[in-house]
Structures are given as C-alpha cells and as structure tokens.
Amino acid sequence: MNQLAGGFHDPAIQSAHAFRALLEAMARPGRIHRVGGALPPAPLSVAAGVTVLTLADATTPLHLAGAADCAAVRDWIAFHTGAPLAGPDQAQFALGTWQALEPVDRFPVGDPAYPDRSATLIVEMARLDQDGPRLTGPGIHKTARLSLPETDALRANRALFPLGFDLILTCGDRLAALPRTTRVEES
Amino acid sequence: MYVAVKGGERAIDAAHAWLAEERRGDPSVPELTVAQIREQMTLAVNRVMAEGSLHDPDLAALAIKQARGDLIEAVFLIRAYRTTLPRFGSSQPVDTARMAVDRRVSATFKDLPGGQVLGPTFDYTHRLLDFALAAEGAVPPAAPTAPAADEAVPHVAGLLDRDGLIEAEAPDDTPAPDLTRSPLELPASRALRLQALARGDEGFLLSLAYSTQRGYGRTHAFVGELRIGMVEVQAELPELGFAVPIGEIELTECESVNQFKGSRTEPPQFTRGYGLVMGQGERKALSMSLVDRALRWRELGEDFTGAPAQDEEFVLSHCDNIQATGFLEHIKLPHYVDFQAELELVRRLRAETMQEAAE
C-alpha cells in the first residue's frame, strides 16, 4: 500500500471526533467506542491507526513492538505523524499486541513529581468486549467489565499509583481505555 | 426587574464601535500611516518586536496603531498573532562579533579594537523640549558620515578572556529550549532564563536591575560593552544541507563585566552578565545583563541574600507583561459569585463575634 494513503483527509475534524472517543474512553474505563477515518497498513487496526494519528507527532517517541514494527507501518507513521521511533524505556507511546509489548514493566511509569511523564500503551486486541475482569475506580459507575489481556500486570500497575502506564485497547475500528487508576479483579 | 450585566452582546458591540472611534481621534486630523509609525516611532516599534518576540517592523507598527499607542496591548496583539504562525525551522546562532555596528561603547577601556562609536543616542542630548519639532515638514540636516571602518569589532569580554581575567564560557551545542512551546520548568538553564528575560517587560527588568545597583543582590557591574547594529541571520535549509543567509536584523547586545572576589567554588576573576534584545533596546539590554548576572549566584558559588533579582522563580514567573497584565486586569471581570460567598462568610463571622461580645 502507498505510504501516503490511509491518513485523515480532513485532519482537524476527523481528529476532533477521534479524540472525543479517546477522551470518553479514558474517562469511562470499560466503555467501547467506534472510530474511523484512517486506513493504516497491516497489521495495524483502524483504531490503532486513528489513535496514532490523533495523538502522536514529532514530539512523541513511539515504540513499535512485534509485528507492528514493520517497514509499512514505520513508513506510514513517519509520513503521517513524524513520530520518532524509540526503545521501550524512552517511549511516550508504544504500539503492539500485549504479547509483543511484554514485559510491560519496561515502559516509563512517570516520575513522582511528574506522574504524567508515563507511557500510553496502544494494545492491539484480537477481541474487545464488555466481559471478563471486573473494573472499579474513577470513571466507573459501580462496576464495568472488559476483556483485558491479563490482570496481574495491571494490578501491579495500579499499585504504583499515582505512577503507572495507561492503556488504549484497540480492535478493528473499536477502542477502549484503561487508565492506571482502574482496579481490576478476575471475575 | 433588575439583573446585573444583562445585554452583554449589545454592550460589547457598542464598546468596540466606540473604541474604533476613539482610536481614530479627531477625523479632521490626518490619519497616521503604519509607515509613519514604523519610521518615526522606531523605538516603540522595537520594544513591541522585542517583547512580542517577533521581528516584523510593519506588523509591530500596525499593532501600535491598533492599540492606540498602548505598547503592552500592542505586544499582546503581536504575541497572539505569532502563536498562530507555522514553524519552518530554527536559525543558526547569530554572530554578534560580526555585527555592522551603529553604536558601540565600552565603559571599561578608553580605547579598544573597533573603537568607541557613539551612534544615534539620546545620551548627551539636553532634555529640552524642541519646539521646532512642533512645526511640521522640517527635514533635519544630514548627519556627518565617515567611511565604515574595515576593522573587526571584537567583544571586550573576549579580550579579557585572553588574559584569563574573566570566567571562561565554553561553547555549548545543547539545543535551545523554547519557552513558547514547553511549560516553564524550574530550576531553569541560563539559556531559558535569558530567553524569558529577552521577552520580559522592560520596566520590570529596569527596576530589578536598579535594585541590584542599590544593594539588593549587588553584582558590581561595568558595561564591558554595549553594541547596536545589524547582524546576518542564517538558517540551514534541509534541501541544501548547509546554512544560507535569510536576512538581517538589528540587535542590541550588552555584556557586563562584573567584579568578583571569588567564592567557595570560583577563583577571583571577572564574571559576565548578558543581555540581547531585538532592535534598539539599550535600556532593556543593560537591565537584562544585570539581572542575568544576579540570577547566576548559584553557579558562581555565591550566597543567596534573598534579593528579588537573585530569585529565579520570582523573576521568571513575573517578568512577562502579557501574563501579568492579563491576570491583573481580570480582577475587573465579575466576581460576584465568590464575593457573595465571602459576604455571607463575613456576615456570619461578624454575627458570631457580636453575639460573643454581647454575652
């Protein structure tokens, strides 16, 4: 596929819609939102492509993990965002399947004075549904459920609060998010 | 029924129309052109460019016209315009040693390579109102000229440096931070401090510099030199892979040479303070160099005496006149919700106090 193709054709409007979905997702862990407007090269999902176009640029080091680290994806990201590729310890964003991203404790969790200086992991999922582990915490009215890739690492991440990484889970044209504040329990 | 500040939309429209009328003044008096402001109010234009952080004399002149001569309002217009401009890249550091000087004075040496050049200065004018200026149309007689000296104009600090008398300043290739693109983080590097001061309010820096002279963080400053002139700006074009000249700008540079008896960490030597301002901004450049030097107490192993000019967080947080004027002036916005909350609190506390007094 041509590296020029698959970007936003109306960036201001499409990224505004995409960001609103990301904002709602991060604000309400467990909710699933549909996004569109980008057609990234395989193996990236539409939702992962939209997330990268909406949030990444030349100021945000990005780590590509596993199958996502291929020439087509690298070229597409370089052309559309200019995001510099980086190792896990320098990454502001990281993109790949959970298996490819593991061990996830490689990623920045922020500084005690600046807990915002932490990575956001964009996790490509084979399945994304409102079932599985029970979620509680800020943004959740009583409880929610989400098909998470695992729970132990996420519980360990929660224990670091206010430090920790945050997740954006992508599958096809759908996404959900899991900030570090969410408490995760096996159902 | 009375309800406060109703009809806000009509009030705003009427206020703007009135403002435009006031800006124009008496229509029987010819309107000022932007070119007239640019050519005849040059120092105002320079100040707006310097504090607005944008070198464009025409836009600065337009801003002054629009702002009815309120220079801080004009700086604000330029800043708000500047922030919308795309960034194509950064220029190379300018070489002020190669400045074509219009003015260059040193207070430390009677004569020196490159000479003393008085230039177009108010310094020795007698401050007598020139009533002849009130009559229009007179063109002043041409000033005498001399052929430009071919001589290089080396920096005074460099001359001292050769003898090891002044602190060494190692070249530094660290990319310069950008205060307009990242939030201020403290402690700040000297480069970031200088950037903040270069955008800072002239009056604020003047008062701080004056306070150091009167003993609040005294730094024993001599004007090593002050120079004003044109320098070439170069930028590296990615397509070419090397730097090419993209234009010339006028700069004012001041290097102070400060007496220094040595500290816990440094030997006795002269130290430096630095000021650089876009356009002709002599007062600002001098002030900046004194404040820069006062802020350097930590790196020179001096004591913090509590002087305002030594206090980095205080100086950098308060030197920006656009931030300051906005926040200051916002107190004229309605605050009746918070005031009502206070009113109710004060009434209750008073009632309790009165009751206790009565008992």
């Binding site: 201001a12 409007i13 990224s15 505004a16 819609h17 609103r20 990301l22 904002l23 709602e24 991060m26 604000a27 309400r28 909406t54 949030l55 945000t60 004075a113 807990p115 915002d116 956001t120 800020p138 943004g139 959740i140 609060f161 206010p162 920790g164 945050d166 900030p179 570090r180 504040t181 | 029924m1 009375y2 309800v3 406060a4 500040v5 109703k6 009809g7 806000g8 939309e9 705003i12 800043r79 708000a80 922030t83 939030p183 403290l186 967080e313 004027t325 906005g326 926040f327 002036e329 916002h330 916005l333 009746y336 919700v337 918070d338 009502q340 909350a341 206070e342 109710e344 506390l349 309790e352």
Partner: protein
C-alpha cells in the same frame, strides 16, 4: 460564520494534540496538575485562556456549546468566549444546561444535574491549592509528590481556632481519590458537593499557569474538613426573588442606596426554566 484564516476551533493541530495528550494524562491521574505548553490566545491571560484551550481541543462540529460566567450566559466575558467559538468553530451554542454537550464555566457548576455525554470545562486562575500557603512552585510540587498536605490542614485548623469555622467560602480545597489535594477553581463552596460522583467529565484549564487537570466521572472528591468541624456547603438564607427557588446559589443585588436588596439565582438558565415552568435546566434556546 467561521474565520477561514484559522484552523477549526482556532488552535493548530499540533497544539491540539499536545493539549489532548495532557487531557488524557489528567484523566489518568485525577486531581494532578499536568503541565502543558499553554499558548498565547487572542484573549488576555486570566480571562479564560486555559478553559478556551481545553474547549478548543475537545470540540467537534457536532457539539452544542454553553458558556457561563458567574452562572450566567449573558455576562460579557461569557458572551465574548461564546462568540469566539461561534466564529472559529462554527458550533451550535445554547443556554440550556441539559441541551449542551460542552459547557465552559467560570466560577459556577450549573444547578441542573449533569449527565453522561457532557463535558464541563472550568476556567482556572490559580490551579495550585497550596499557592497561598507556599508561593513557590518548586516547593508545592514536592509537597504534592510526598502527599505532604500538613500545611493545608494547619491553615484550616487555624481558621477554626480563630473563627470557629473554616474561613474559606470559595475555591474550597478538595481531596481527589484519596491522593491529590485539588483547587476546584473559585466556585462557591456551595457547589463543591457537585464535584463528586458527577456523571459528566470535568476538565480544568489554567492558561497562564500552564496546567490542566481533570476529574473523571463518578470520582471520589472530598472537601477537606475535620471530624468535629464537618464541611458545610452554604448559601444566602433567602429564596430567589424571581423563581422562588430555595435550593439554588443566589446573587445579591443592591436595588437602591437605602440598603434594599434582592436575591436571585446566579444560574440564569435554571432560573428562567423555573419561571417558565419547564423542568430545571431546560431553559433558553
């Protein structure tokens, strides 16, 4: 009408991305102040530049925007900010609290309950709750890092010792999710209970101080107090002279120079809705 020379919602895309990243981190660390590269806006610092930047980063063309200042839609600065977004984003505007998707506010939380799908954007002058106890950012950052809020408790306790109550009537500090002490912006403490467990997303923008912070929906937000001196939201003990409400926050209006005064709702949409006999918060178009 939109201003064609500027991007949608005025800010360039790179600036919006930077603000959007800060907003997501702010939601992930509730109550923590995220530094952001605040831009110079075409309105003065202190007049809502933080709120305007946050709103600009969140707006889509489908939004209905409400802007209030002191609870009212028609105060001059609210009018000015609403016009700015009409011109630069072309979004629909409304005075109705329930009809709005994004509400930018200065100093009030609307009386009508907010719901999911709504975003409340606060304009914040001084985001640091500890600032008037310790003016240095370098110090207050360390205090937040170490969760060292003793100074705040001492101040509140001194109030009680001197005045018999906590003498803070607005910008009353809160603790968010048992971690960060947060300034809720200068809302009257009457509004503090609405910060907690709110179904809407609450975003806070401080432009001059270059900080963004957030409360996700349904967050735990507790107004600081002591067991023997519990927090009490308070209001003037009157009914609204226009709609008769006894549970709304009131403006006091002086009607002559002989001490006559009346009280009316500060939330103009709430008041107009009640006067028109409509359900709360479904007032003006």
């Amino acid at each position: 009408m939109t201003v064609q020379d500027y991007n949608f919602a005025y800010l360039d895309e790179q600036t919006k991305r930077m603000i959007r990243r800060a907003l997501l981190k702010a939601l992930a660390v509730p109550g923590y102040q995220v530094p952001f590269a605040s831009r110079e806006m075409p309105m003065p610092y202190g007049w809502g530049t933080g709120g305007v930047q946050v709103t600009a980063a969140c707006l889509t063309p489908d939004d209905r925007l409400k802007v209030i200042d002191q609870g009212a839609d028609d105060t001059t600065n609210a009018v000015s900010i609403r016009r700015f977004f009409q011109r630069t984003a072309g979004v629909e505007t409304t005075q109705s609290t329930t009809g709005a998707t994004v509400i930018q506010t200065r100093h009030r939380i609307p009386e009508a309950p907010l719901s999911e799908g709504q975003i409340l954007v606060y304009q914040v002058p001084i985001p640091e709750p500890l600032r008037f106890l310790e003016p240095r950012e370098t110090e207050t950052r360390r205090m937040h890092e170490l969760e060292e809020y003793g100074l705040m408790h001492v101040k509140l306790y001194e109030d009680i010792a001197r005045h018999g109550e906590i003498a803070t009537a607005y910008a009353y500090p809160v603790k968010v999710e048992d971690r960060y002490v947060m300034d809720p912006s200068p809302i009257p403490k009457f509004d503090n209970p609405k910060l907690a467990d709110n179904p809407a997303i609450q975003l806070f923008g401080a432009g001059r101080e270059a900080r963004i912070y957030a409360l996700p929906p349904y967050s735990r937000v507790v107004s600081l107090d002591f067991e023997d001196h519990p927090f009490t939201p308070s209001r003037a003990e009157h009914a609204c002279a226009l709609c008769g409400a006894t549970d709304s926050y009131l403006d006091e209006v002086i009607t002559d120079d002989r001490g006559s005064r009346m009280f009316s709702c500060s939330d103009t949409d709430f008041c107009a809705s009640r006067q028109a006999g409509r359900p709360d918060g479904e007032g003006g178009a």
